[in-house]
Structure formats: structure tokens, C-alpha cells
Amino acid sequence: MTTYAIVADLNRCVGCQTCTSACKHANNTAPGIQWRKVLDFETGEFPQVNRAFMPVGCMHCDTPSCLDICPSTATQKREDGIVTIDYDKCIGCAYCAVSCPYQARFRVDSPSSAYGGKAMRHEAMREDPGRLGVSQKCTLCVDRIDEGRAQGLVPGVDMAATPACVASCISGALQMGDLDDPDSNVSTLLREKRHFRMHEELGNGPNIFYLYDGKIEDVAPTETVPMVSEPVGLAAVSPRVQTNWDWRAAANFVFGGTGTGLFAMTMLAGQFAPVMWLATLLAMILVAVGLFCVWLEIGRPWRFLNVFLNARTSWMSREAFAALPFFGFGGLAWLTGSMGLGIMAALSGLVFLYCQARILRAAKGIPAWRQPGIVPLIVASGLTEGAGILAVLAVLTGAVEVAGQGLAAALVVLLAARWAFWTRYRFGFRQTGAPTGVAAVLDDPHSGMALVIHAALIALAVVAAITPFAQHTTLAVAGLGAVVAGWLFKFALITKASFTQGYALNRMPARGGGVSRPGIKPGWSKT
């Protein structure tokens, strides 16, 4: 077996960015895209300041969080550990980009060149339209490795078979080799020198190792990395709001959640009163609008059928599959007025809603999404929004005379449940910590989940449940409020609270004969 890994000696790296240039040269990446780059960390205060440079890129993880989530199976892991992307299969949904805690994946939608306007000759020669609109990242220079091995060369030893970044390193800071060979350069270094891996607590098993100090026999301090909530001058390495999923992706969570919640609540209400078939039609339209929006977002829209290729492990594929019976049974139920078909559609819709929640949970690159508490919260919000819309519809169509009190009671329960799940989700950050920006976004009243808003909505719903004479207006307002609050929350969650993981330097490397110092995790706090 072979497992290729990179070892970066933080004591040797001088931050010259030669590896960055070599990578751009070897892989012709677009302006602004750096598969390999070197971060610049600083700790301490003038005049006692430490600075360290940290090469990062795709970590070719042991259990990559981009692999299982890929709906098209475009991402694969080879026998030798290299994580690959099939540009011909990828639909450009960028789910992998938000699932990577190392911010190693990019999507470029249109050609661009270093000097604007016309491509320079070397750029024009190597233009690859197949790489537009799909996910891209460090390939570990897989072509150099494969060609070199075919000629009997050893990657990491023979520079022609070694990734361009490692081959170009001016100081020997970057080494690459086979971890499964106990005598390889990297195995020897890791046996002898103290080292760490970034974000090890997330469990990806990244394959870039960082050397920071002397011999391994000296007892290594095993401190956790101190979070620094207000890092000065470290904006480039701190979490920032992801740009891969914008309002179009948010719309799928907004309308998909509300639509499936509405269908389920309609069929539930239909057990006690005549089914409001109009509501089921609206529910299907909402889900369709959401899916249309997310279709607008993907980089290769005409390959969207590839979304069905990975139901085995990807919650995005599963979501797509759940949509089929939802629309199939739902459409037939609406045409025939069959309760049985309607219930089948409602159940499919609930599966769809659950898949949506799990999509966020599996997006390991975004701390505000990957919280376990997100799953019940998203499901409860979808049902609450559904009940809210149904309440408004009932008021508009006059069905409120029959179902008003029941709907109001359901709203009370669902609003309370949603707020309870929200509180649980929100307090989850006290254990794990979060990028500092997350708390500010979530606690903003515009994000819909403030206690005041929910208390007011619950009070309105209670009034509607116990006072029949005031039912019409109060129920409609409570229902509408429940919907708007859920929509605001999901929109904020996807587009504003979606800070990336950022980077962390677990230990400041020792300088010369000195000792290493505590590292830094900038832009994080326990809130």
C-alpha cells in the first residue's frame, strides 16, 4: 500500500511563496485561485513577536469530508491516498467546497487571465474549459506522480515525480513521500520530529504534517490551541463567510423546508377536517421553486442528473431521490384526491426535509452548519413554516371555521419546539466554540430566532387557540410570523452565519535552539 503525505517543516519555511508560484505554473490555476499557498501567522505583541509560515492546500485526508458528500461521485480517493475530482462528472454544486474544513476547494465559472482581458500566450495554450464550473483543488500533481512512476521514479525522491511545490521548495521545508514505507523521507521525519496536523479534532486525518520543534523524545506539550477572538492582523487566516452557496442555495432550504412542511401539515390536518388540496399544490410549487433556485446555482446545470449518482453516502443525492416520490405521489394525490397517495407524498416530503437538515450537518467546513443540533432545528422549522402557511391559507379560504383551533394549537406546539431546538443548537457553540462572527449573526433579531419574536408568536397562537372570536387575524398573523421567522433564520444561516473553519497553527515553531510556543486559532471564541 501507498499513502502519499506532505511534511512541512515550519522551522525551515521562510514564506517565500515559491511553492505557490510553482503550483500556479504547474497547474495553470486562474487568478485568485491558489491550490497551494503559504499562510502568514503572527503571535505576541511588539517587541515580543513571533511569526511563522504555514503551507496549506488539499490535505488528501484519510477520511476526506468532501468524498462521501459528493452527489455525483466525481470526488474519489485513489489507492495511494490522492483525492481526485472527475471534471467530466462534477455538477459544480460546490457542496465539497463547504464540506472541506481546510478551504482547499474552488470553483471557477468563467475564464480569466492574469492581466485581465486577453489571455497571455502561456495561459491560452493551457486553457481547459473542462475545469470551468466544476470543483477544483490540489491534485498532488498526480500527473507528475503517475508519469514518474511509469518511468520507475520514486515520488518524493526523484524530483521529476514529485509535486511541483515540493520540488521547488528553496529550503527543504516541504517533503513528500510514502507514509506506508517506514524508511521513506516522511516516515523518518515523523518518527524523529515533533509534529501536529491542522484541525485534527475534526477527524479527517489530514495528510499534511507540520514539524515544529526538535526531537520527538522530548516530551511534547499537548495543549489545545488557544482561541483568539480578536486577532490583530490575521484576517487572511481567520474564518470568513463562505461564498460558494448564496441566496439560491438558501432558497432551496427556505422553500423546500416550507413546502415539505406544508404538505405534511396539510395531510395531518386532513385527518381531522377536509383536506385542503390547494395547500398541497402550493407545497409542491414551493419545493419546485427551491430546487429551481439551487439548479441556477450549480456550475454545470445541464449535468444535474448526476446528482442521483451517490445515494449510497450523499445526503444531497438522497434529497434528490426523495423529491421524486414527493412530486409523483403528490401530483397524483392532488389529481385524484386520494388520502393514501397524499400521505405517501407527505412522508416523502418529510424524508426530503430530513435530508436537507443532514446536508447541512455533513458540511464539515462550516461550523454553524455542522452542529448536531442543526438537524432537529431545520426539521422543526420546516414543519413550523408549513403549519404557518396552512394557517394563513385556512384563514384566506374560510377553512378556519373547521380547522382554526387545531391549527392554532399545532402552531403553539411547533413554535415552542422550534425555539427549544434553536436554544439547544445555539448553546452547542458554548462547548465547541465558533468563529466570532457566528454569534453576532445568529443573535441579531433579523435572524428570526430571538426570544421576543417567538414569545410574541406563541402568545398570538395561544390567543387564536382559545378565543374563537379573535381567530382570523391573530391566527393569520401568528402563521405568517412563524413562516417569516423561519425564512429569515435559514437565509441568515446559509448566507451570513456560514463562516468557514479558518486556519489554526497548533504550535509556534521553535526558532534556532529555542523552544516552541503555544499556537493560535484566530477568529474563534466560545460563545
Binding site: 503572527e42 505576541g44 513577536v49 490583530v232 492582523g233 484576517a235
Partner: protein, 97 residues
């Protein structure tokens, strides 16, 4: 324009704020970058020659040392120009962040 956080705090400047730097002979503008690793009495700018050939660099609105002090060939060696040191003053550009 890289500067020390303590010096920036004294002047009421924050990270990313647009500032004007001026010398007896010229002026240039840029955004504040805070780093602890720089002396409090010193500003650092890496921009030179106004990047007139590279449109992207022009759009980055980076400061240019050449706006502050003319290049002297007598003081230039193979590693760069030794004339890139000049006494300057700094002020915030109001309303521009």
C-alpha cells in the same frame, strides 16, 4: 500600509481603513494592515512603480512608494532601491473604508 496596532490605536485607525500617507514631495493612499511585528514609528508599503503595466494590481488600490519619494539610481543595487526610506505623515481619509 502596514503599521503597528498600538500606533494605529493612538491615531484612531482600524484595520482596513483607507489612509493617505504624505512626504514633503508627494502623497499616496492605501488601506491599513495591522501587524505586531513592525516598529510603532514605522510604516511599511510594498507597492512600487505604480504597477502601470498590470491592470489587476492597479485595481487593488495599493499604495505606491514612488508617489512619496523619487527613485534614485545611485542608491539602487541588485536587491532593490535603498532610497525607499522617507519621513512621512499619515491621515485618515474621511468616510472611505
Amino acid at each position: 500600509v502596514m503599521m503597528n496596532p498600538a500606533a494605529a490605536a493612538k491615531l484612531g485607525l482600524c484595520e482596513g481603513e483607507r489612509v493617505e500617507v504624505y512626504s514633503p514631495t508627494g502623497t499616496t493612499t492605501g488601506a491599513v494592515i495591522l501587524r505586531h511585528g513592525i516598529r510603532p514609528d514605522t510604516l511599511l508599503m510594498i507597492g512600487q512603480f505604480d504597477h502601470w503595466k498590470t491592470p489587476f494590481a492597479k485595481d487593488l488600490k495599493t499604495p505606491s512608494m514612488n508617489g512619496l519619494t523619487p527613485m534614485s539610481l545611485e542608491l539602487t543595487d541588485a536587491t532593490g532601491s535603498g532610497a525607499d526610506l522617507v519621513r512621512v505623515a499619515i491621515r485618515r481619509l474621511e468616510g472611505k473604508r
